[in-house]
């Protein structure tokens, strides 16, 4: 007599996406910097912003921050990045 088990695991069908196309250059691009609001994150991202502007010729840097690092970014923060038409976003933390 075979044993029949009830599957106790998550069986949600997951949507298989493909990653967005990688940028071939940072020159002239709009880059979003998303601060997850850990201590020191602002300092770290200030460095990144400076490097992007001075060494990689980005045309615009958009800075946004999550209200807290303990929860996922709320839709309003993501909407800001979408509205700014970022070519790429760096999400970062320091700590």
């Amino acid at each position: 007599m075979p044993t029949i088990l009830v599957n106790p695991l998550d069986e949600t069908v997951r949507f298989q996406g493909t990653p967005a196309a990688r940028l071939d250059t940072l020159e002239g691009k709009t880059i979003g910097l998303l601060d997850i609001s850990k201590p020191g994150g602002g300092i770290f991202l200030d460095h990144i912003e400076r490097l992007l502007r001075e060494h990689h010729g980005v045309s615009q840097v958009v800075r946004v921050a999550k209200p807290t690092f303990t929860k996922p970014a709320p839709a309003s923060v993501i909407d800001q990045l979408i509205a700014a038409r970022c070519d790429a976003v760096i999400e970062a933390l320091a700590d």
Binding site: P2, T3, N7, P39, T70
Partner: protein
């Protein structure tokens, strides 16, 4: 947006099946519900309206979809929607009523708008339900109860008629409160396969009871909920905790069927947004959910609250705690070492569940302090580190015992980190006797601990470290003649329970993860009949 007292326009729209609906606003109280098919708050609200439709008659509610027939039909069939739905194809009715967001509810009678509600709000839903029931000559009903796992209120999405003409929103993962999920698949094991070995990967590294169909059915017979009913979606992967999946994990943990009602309540509570299980599971910190059980069900179901309360002393304690962890891992996806990258972890991730020793507690127990009846039973969740011991055998009075505890409290999270954290003080029966003998109430004890737990400011002068960067947020006080930063922001940050055996002067401090609205907040849910 049309306001209370204004004229409610008549309209003429089509049902999904093409039948016309001519809405005369002069008729008896009717609830008009504007919704979008991809709005999570609409999906949250509709099941509550289904309840009203079932009680007061489906003609008392009209759903007005702002989306196309195919998407609307899909929602009506799968959520489901148990009241008539019409299609506002050109958004003309939406423009006439002008809801600022969806879902928007307009209670209409006698040609006028009696009441409106934007978004999801339990109090408002209940008020509108009563008006409808009253008009139908029925007794008032509560369609939205406080402790069902859904937030008290939740904002909605922009109404379709106000959206700029660009691509519509993508429906995100959160079909959060759809009540029906899928049945679990069955796994057939060959006779040559040892079921215990097969199940070795289902959860924690210790053996589990294989969740055979027979065992799961026995577990399901203890609840009247349907097996495919979704109790909650478990962060961070938001897998569906259907009643059946909960039962399968309960079997694996070794729970008895009578535990199902506690476990279902606990799963709702752990997904309460205030507890923020998403953050608790994703942190590199030690935190694991500590379960505290209160009320008469402790005795009835065999929970231990005395000697060895934090250990492997009672089937009820160990299996409830374990079932929670198995569900968090198997359905929520935060497997230790994978998504759960906690640096050192916490042995509570095997099982972390205690009951309060209400019999040895001279004060009101935790749940009564929080406003429940003594005769109610509750589960409380606290995002907790492992307990830290306070051995205090020589202090002869309340102040002596409490001072010892305050010194342990001072090291919560990290010695110089003040504010932003909480702590649970677990007082053993011997200590609580000493404290109460000196006339301290629970609040007196809490206030004493708050006032006397501080970090001398001179300790902030020997270099930077955890907590030294936030001193501008700290309150100051003089404690024993020394200028200190107060450890906690508020006496309410210190929770107190009584637990443990009758012998021994050993209490404990259980420190929290990041606390408050930006972290995790302690939640307490009454254990319901299911």
């Amino acid at each position: 947006m049309l306001q209370t007292g204004e004229q409610a326009p008549r309209f003429f729209l089509e049902h999904l099946n093409g039948e016309p609906l001519s809405f005369e606003s002069e008729r008896g109280p009717t609830l008009l519900v504007f919704f979008e098919t991809d709005c999570p708050t609409c999906r949250l609200t509709i099941p509550y309206l289904n309840k009203l439709a079932t009680q007061a008659g489906s003609s008392s509610i009209i759903g007005i979809s702002q989306d196309n027939k195919a998407a609307t039909r899909e929602l009506v069939e799968h959520l489901p929607i148990l009241f008539p739905v019409v299609l506002d194809r050109d958004l003309s009715v939406s423009s006439a009523y002008d809801p600022v967001a969806v879902p928007s509810l307009f209670l209409v009678a006698g040609g006028k708008v009696l009441a409106t509600e934007i978004g999801f709000d339990k109090a408002s839903l209940n008020k509108m339900a009563n008006i409808i029931c009253d008009a139908a000559g029925l007794a008032p009903i509560t369609i939205a109860s406080e402790f069902d796992g859904a937030p008290q209120s939740k904002p909605g999405c922009t109404s379709r008629h106000l959206e700029p003409a660009t691509d519509g929103e993508i429906a995100l993962a959160a079909n959060a409160y759809a009540r029906r999920g899928s049945r679990a698949s069955r796994i057939t094991l060959d006779d040559s396969v040892d079921p215990f070995e097969f199940c070795a990967s289902f959860g924690d590294p210790l053996p589990v009871i294989p969740p055979t169909v027979e065992r799961v059915e026995r577990m399901l017979s203890a609840t009247s909920l349907a097996p495919d009913e979704v109790v909650a979606l478990i962060p961070p992967n938001y897998g569906a905790a259907t009643v059946e999946k909960i039962a399968a994990n309960a079997v694996m943990a070794g729970c008895e069927p009578a535990m199902m009602r506690v476990l279902i309540t606990l799963i709702r509570a752990v997904c309460d947004e205030r507890f923020n299980i998403h953050g608790v599971q994703a942190t590199t910190h030690f935190a694991a959910p500590l379960v505290i059980v209160n009320g008469p069900l402790r005795r009835e179901l065999g929970f231990a609250s005395g000697s060895n309360v934090f250990s492997n002393v009672a089937r009820a304690n160990s299996t409830l705690g374990r079932a929670l962890q198995l569900i968090l891992t198997n359905l929520g996806g935060a497997r230790p070492g994978e998504i759960d990258m906690s640096t050192l972890g916490n042995s509570g991730k095997f099982s972390y569940c205690i009951a309060e020793n209400e019999e040895a507690n001279p004060w009101e127990p935790l749940h009564v302090e929080l406003g429940f009846q003594r005769s109610e039973s509750t589960v409380t969740l606290f995002a907790a580190e492992p307990p830290r011991g306070v051995s205090e055998h020589n202090a002869r009075d309340a102040r002596g015992v409490l001072k010892a505890i305050s010194r342990a409290l001072a090291t919560s999270w990290s010695y110089r980190l003040c504010a932003g954290i909480e702590a649970l003080v677990v007082l053993c029966p011997e200590h609580v006797k000493t404290i109460v003998r000196d006339g301290f109430t629970k609040q007196n004890a809490r206030d004493y601990l708050f006032d006397n737990t501080g970090i001398p400011i001179k300790h902030f002068e020997d270099g930077e470290g955890e907590g030294t960067q936030q001193v501008r947020l700290y309150k100051q006080a003089v404690i024993d003649g020394e200028q200190c930063y107060l450890k906690f922001q508020n006496p309410t940050a210190i929770k107190i329970v009584v637990a443990g055996g009758a012998a021994g002067k050993f209490s404990a401090v259980v420190s929290s993860w990041a606390a408050g609205p930006r972290g995790s907040q302690m939640v307490t849910y009454p254990i319901a009949e299911f």
